[in-house]
Symmetry: C2
Subunit: 456 residues, 2 copies
């Protein structure tokens, strides 16, 4: 596939409402403000200076204890699941400090109720003037189930049935107010037109919801929907519902194959494939000179204990890696897991002759990947991926917070802008504007649900 660089790329920032990527909190230029609004406000302003499309917060509803059956490694090493503030409040803080930046939070369809989620994102979309996005996850840790009064997680084959119905309900609720229902005519008086606010009377397998929502239709119609499912059903779900797919890859080849597959899936569902944006995660490590980059890499590498990475990988794979010897190659595992790329990772690791300990260290910060170097080297790589059709942009992860975002904005963004690969100012107002996505009309969701299709 040759792809002309007619469009520009899109940039998201993957931010943790906590200590960030394992080891990153130990960096001399990292900051301890995880519990303060200033910390997030400042990141938001940095990203907006850099014209980023959106800030993205992952989430998890437990401190994982997959590694050795204990929370110890997560807490000691400040791993990804150790401390996490509730993300929509953090985004409300960021919304008040910015004017354009998109604002994405992760919420699970397995542990919340659709009325609550529809209302939360409608609220965020209003408070931000049309900048909200929802990263839809089905969750994958039994530890989360055990914080929500369930013995175990919903069986894998059922999770996406629930998610499909969950999205049917949230979309009906977002549509329950017509765009012009809120009148606020003081003289009449007519606050909202009762004929334009309708109950939804949803009755399904998982949910019974009367509606209407108590929040008017979101400025964007629906918030931008993000998804990152690895399984076949997860990909199908994304191709049906998602505006943005977040993914991680170990090579350009697998990235291109994935992007082709997803665009084809979207087209098969009757969608314009350009309206499904693919954003792989990268963890750039940038420096003014190659020598500085090398020294920075050494510094970071020394801050990471292998277990900090392995405890994260354990929870991403949902496998206890503490039972395998640290000084041997990665074990052969059949895992569905979060990454969907374990085999690829293991093969790459074997080829490089890495032990489990070394692979763990590598997994912790991923800065040993491809996006390392001076600004032009990183921009070259990004351009290569973009022009090869591997993606529509990137989700930038920070090896340490907030400094790595600042460096990216100061060093890499200008290089992308010089190449006309990235905007120099925002043109629209909403996140849909930034992403080049049309605003969905009322009812636009119909026909998306696999559950409804199967029932027909």
């Amino acid at each position: 596939m040759t792809r002309k660089n007619t469009e520009q790329l899109h940039l998201g920032a993957f931010i943790v409402a906590g200590p960030g990527r394992p080891g990153g909190w130990r960096h001399p230029q990292s900051e301890d403000g995880w519990l303060t609004p200033d910390y997030y406000r400042r990141i938001a302003q940095t990203l907006e200076q850099g014209c980023f499309d959106l800030a993205f917060f992952p989430d998890i509803l437990a401190v994982p204890n997959r590694f050795g059956g204990s929370h110890e490694s997560q807490l000691r090493y400040g791993a990804l699941g150790s401390l996490r503030l509730e993300p929509t409040q953090v985004l409300a803080t960021m919304a008040a400090a910015t004017n354009h930046l998109g604002l994405a939070a992760t919420k699970s369809t397995s542990y919340y109720e659709p009325f609550d989620i529809a209302r939360g994102f409608a609220t965020l979309d209003h408070l931000s003037g049309g900048r909200a996005a929802w990263n839809i996850v089905t969750s994958f840790q039994d530890a989360e189930a055990r914080n929500f009064s369930r013995e175990q997680h919903i069986p894998r084959e059922k999770r996406y049935d629930r998610a499909d119905e969950f999205l049917e309900v949230t979309h009906k609720l977002w549509d329950s107010w017509a765009d012009d229902a809120l009148v606020a005519d003081r003289a009449e008086p007519l606050f909202a037109d009762p004929d334009k606010v309708n109950p939804i009377l949803h009755k399904g397998e998982w949910f019974t919801v009367d509606g209407p929502l108590n929040v008017p239709r979101p400025p964007q119609g629906y918030p931008v929907l993000i998804q990152a499912g690895a399984s076949d059903r997860g990909r199908d779900f994304a191709a049906r519902w998602a505006d943005v797919v977040f993914v991680t890859h170990y090579s350009l080849e697998s990235a291109v194959a994935f992007a082709r597959e997803m665009k084809a899936r979207a087209a098969a569902h009757g969608r314009d494939p350009r309206h499904l944006k693919i954003l792989p995660g990268i963890t750039p490590l940038v420096g003014e000179t190659q020598a500085i980059v090398e020294e920075k890499r050494k510094l970071l590498s020394g801050l990471i204990d292998p277990v900090a990475g392995l405890t994260t990988l354990s929870y991403h794979l949902d496998v206890d890696l503490s039972v395998y010897p640290l000084d041997e190659p990665l074990p052969h595992l059949k895992v569905p897991g979060v990454t969907g790329h374990y085999d690829e990772m293991r093969e790459a690791s074997d080829k490089a002759g890495l032990t489990l300990a070394e692979a763990g260290r590598m997994y912790a910060n991923r800065y040993e990947g491809d996006f390392i170097g001076t600004p032009d080297v990183i921009a070259d790589k990004m351009q290569e991926w973009f022009e090869a059709g591997a993606c529509d942009g990137f989700m930038v992860m920070a090896a340490w917070q907030p400094g790595a975002f600042e460096e990216f904005v100061r060093l890499v963004v200008p290089e992308l802008q010089r190449r006309k690969l990235f905007r120099t100012e925002y043109e629209g107002k909403t996140l849909r504007d930034h992403l080049g996505l049309p605003r969905p009309e009322r009812g636009a969701w119909e026909g998306k649900s696999a559950r409804l299709e199967a029932a027909e």
Copy 2:
């Protein structure tokens, strides 16, 4: 009871994340910014200038349809349940715009999960530097149940069982990190001390929650707990768990009786009764001269359709009032309802010779009550209630938003300050500081649950 005015009074502001009290949105000085952060930011700053203890957001999880079985009257008249943003996001916005103001949101124990609620308020307490409060409600509308996949609400006698266990779990989660668990020692490395973060392994009748929380212990230990239950069990619940009781009254006599009862109940549970703060709601109407007050009252009265009040009263009472004739006295009803004062209201209404329509209009804004007049008249009334032992302060409701808060701060607060009844500046930093409440140690909640007591 003679009570010396040694303490000062406390002020909360009852704010609706929507059009406010019925009819208020029609006021020429009201503003339409319900969906924008500026609207809330400005109210927060006004209240902080006025040294208010806290901003308080009620909540409801449905557009009520109790009046005539339809949403029409709620929507048309912009009544209390017509439009409501999710309150914790609004508070996060306010937190970022203020330094001292306490921030209270209503969340129901009937429709959420304790992990989610504990995490949300821990997040708000951190992001605000110790200013979060939770108004605990058990909910009382079947319309809410029908938005949360339940045919009807949990039976009345079971709601507080669930609430008791809900609070056991949230307190265990808030205690799951010791106050000094977060170390962030980069050299060691030791992010959090695993010995000081403990699973809770709660197994009860309603909830099974392993924990620990993924947010450190809140700065205030626990967020300030507010409650407004009307029933006997509701009062008992408040006397056990609450720091603040929010209530409405129709007379000084009933207010004094209620306050005495609640303080006695708290003492019977082994608590210092001064640590249970009673804040009745009032809707002041203030003007520079009595003549201005009269004209303002006329203006407001003309903005309210009787049905705007009756649709609100219908949902507060959980009774369909549309079946009763508008031009006759209030019907005799046996209702548990939200107000707990229906009989008192009906008697007062009969004595004044009011029809249902007139009582509805009165209920809509309550500005026909006692707290009307020039600043000294209102301050007199407040002082009288305070010194009679009817309360520890007030929850100020605005006949229209945001103007009525501004007038109260400009006209009434200085008068209260002149009388040394109210602070002229904040002394402490946290909401517990403002309220004169000690910070609870880990484990301080033990012995509070009626459910556990009954099981012994």
